[in-house]
């Protein structure tokens, strides 16, 4: 059953727990499949999903990157440490660069040791730090959670899903009634309108399918080699919904 993304991904009240433990290799890029599943195909920091970004034709080198929480230049020994690798969108990665917190200042929050919901909230298509949380504000600023493009991308998902859902919810009963009328009374206007609505329903379904929580190009296997790990993290799974529900 295809699960779809929520109109707005809320920061989870739970820490992201890593379920995958790939064998250490000489190249962190080999962890990509595990990272995709562990972080639910979403940026660990700004929560944008692959499906959000793919719609904009961003391709080529891959629009999602592997982030080293401790930058490679700061500690080369952790380059291939899975715990140090995060799934992250290209924009967050670029925004941070190699920035490291200054001693004595606010710290960068780690999504695998801090619950994002305890530090951030989703407000009007932005992921905002909670009031007076200096670490959250610093993290938000470092990864530029609310750069205008990210805000717009979140808005487009919210608006598109809500519009399509609202239409599909309202149209179901009317469509059935139109079909009944066409069948029982041979009303040609009802037949034509039913066809038109059928087409609109199809279009709305297709638009919603852009936002699949598990993208069609998901990895069917990962480095762990265990199929039981190929599920979404609970925090995202509980926010998803199905067209059949």
């Amino acid at each position: 059953m295809t699960r779809l993304l929520p109109p707005v991904t809320r920061p989870s009240r739970e820490v992201i727990s890593r379920r995958h433990l790939p064998p250490v290799t000489g190249a962190y890029s080999a962890y990509r499949a595990c990272l995709r599943w562990d972080f639910g195909f979403s940026c660990a920091f700004c929560l944008l999903h692959e499906s959000d970004i793919a719609s904009y034709g961003v391709s080529g080198w891959g629009f999602m990157h592997v982030e080293h929480f401790v930058p490679r230049s700061s500690d080369p020994s952790r380059i291939n440490d899975y715990e140090n690798c995060f799934y992250i969108c290209g924009r967050c990665n670029r925004a941070r660069g190699k920035k490291m917190p200054r001693a004595g200042g606010p710290i960068l929050l780690n999504p695998c040791s801090r619950a994002w919901g305890e530090h951030f909230e989703a407000v009007a298509d932005e992921i905002r730090p909670l009031a007076e949380d200096r670490d959250a504000a610093y993290t938000c600023d470092t990864y530029d959670f609310n750069d205008p493009a990210k805000v717009r991308i979140r808005r487009m998902r919210r608006v598109t899903i809500n519009q399509c859902r609202r239409f599909l919810d309202r149209v179901r009963r009317l469509h059935e009634a139109l079909l009944d009328r066409a069948e029982n009374e041979g009303d040609t206007e009802a037949v034509e309108l039913a066809w038109e609505i059928q087409e609109l329903r199809r279009q709305a379904y297709w638009d919603l399918l852009r936002f699949q929580a598990i993208p069609p190009d998901h990895d069917p296997v990962c480095r762990c080699g265990k199929s039981t790990h190929l599920t979404l993290p609970d925090a995202l799974e509980e926010q998803t919904w199905s067209l059949l529900s």
Binding site: P148, R170, V171, L200
Partner: protein, 240 residues
């Protein structure tokens, strides 16, 4: 004479081998197979040409080739690239290729105007790609060509309204912003960072609007049509 020819031939052979090694290293870096590497090579070259053109430099294609050659040399030398996005690394090298060109042009101009000074300045070694960009040079080099231009001038320069072009601009400025923001203790850099942040935000807003247009153009469902159809259906069904 014979000896000279031998040395020359051997030198050429060594250089040929070197070029072949560099090429192989570049291909391996760009992709797991030659087809993919070829595609990426073409894409990078095209973007580099556009970048040089955008900076108003003549012979953009030659400069793009020079940039790729330098990157290939670095890779063949075994340098580990820190850029997550390989194109960002090409951009960094391209920046320095254009800087060299501008510096050389300035020296030549100085040579024409003041030959004695020009002789002194020509002793300055040609700069290779440095490990870190130097913010003052970077700022002064790009301020004139990029930051001082209004956004509406940048867009056509970068090739129309397409997303990748705007993304390219924003990415480049974002990279420089990242470099500068590490130097905020320096008051001059602080002001530069402030200006650049404003500039970056303005471009990001434009980019966001272009992204929305692109996204909307891909959507199939028209909410207005949906509302009209629902209203008509309700009217029809209310008629007995």
């Amino acid at each position: 004479m014979n000896r000279q020819r031998k040395i020359g031939a051997s030198g050429r052979k060594t250089r040929e081998e070197q070029i072949r090694n560099e090429l192989e290293a570049l291909v391996a870096f760009l992709g797991p197979d030659r087809d993919l590497a070829g595609e990426r090579y073409t894409m990078i070259r095209r973007r580099l040409v556009r970048l040089f053109e955008w900076r108003g430099l003549a012979f953009a294609e030659d400069l793009a080739d020079e940039t790729i050659t330098r990157v290939a040399r670095r890779i063949a030398e075994g340098v580990e690239l820190r850029s997550v996005d390989p194109f960002a690394y090409f951009c960094g090298v391209a920046h320095w290729v254009s800087k060299e060109l501008l510096r050389r042009a300035a020296r030549e101009r100085a040579g024409l105007e003041a030959p004695f000074h020009a002789k002194e300045s020509s002793a300055e070694p040609m700069q290779r790609v440095p490990p870190e960009l130097e913010w003052e040079e970077l700022w002064s080099g790009l301020e004139e060509t990029t930051f001082s231009k209004p956004a509406e001038e940048l867009r056509p320069l970068a090739g129309g309204e397409g997303i990748p072009d705007m993304e390219e601009i924003v990415q480049e400025i974002g990279d420089i912003y990242g470099q500068l923001s590490k130097l905020v203790a320096d008051p001059a850099a602080k002001e530069a960072v402030r200006q650049l942040r404003e500039r970056l935000r303005a471009l990001q807003r434009e980019e966001a609007e272009a992204m929305e247009r692109q996204f909307r153009s891909q959507l199939l469902f028209d909410p207005q049509k949906g509302r009209d159809a629902l209203a008509r259906a309700e009217r029809l069904l209310s008629k007995q």
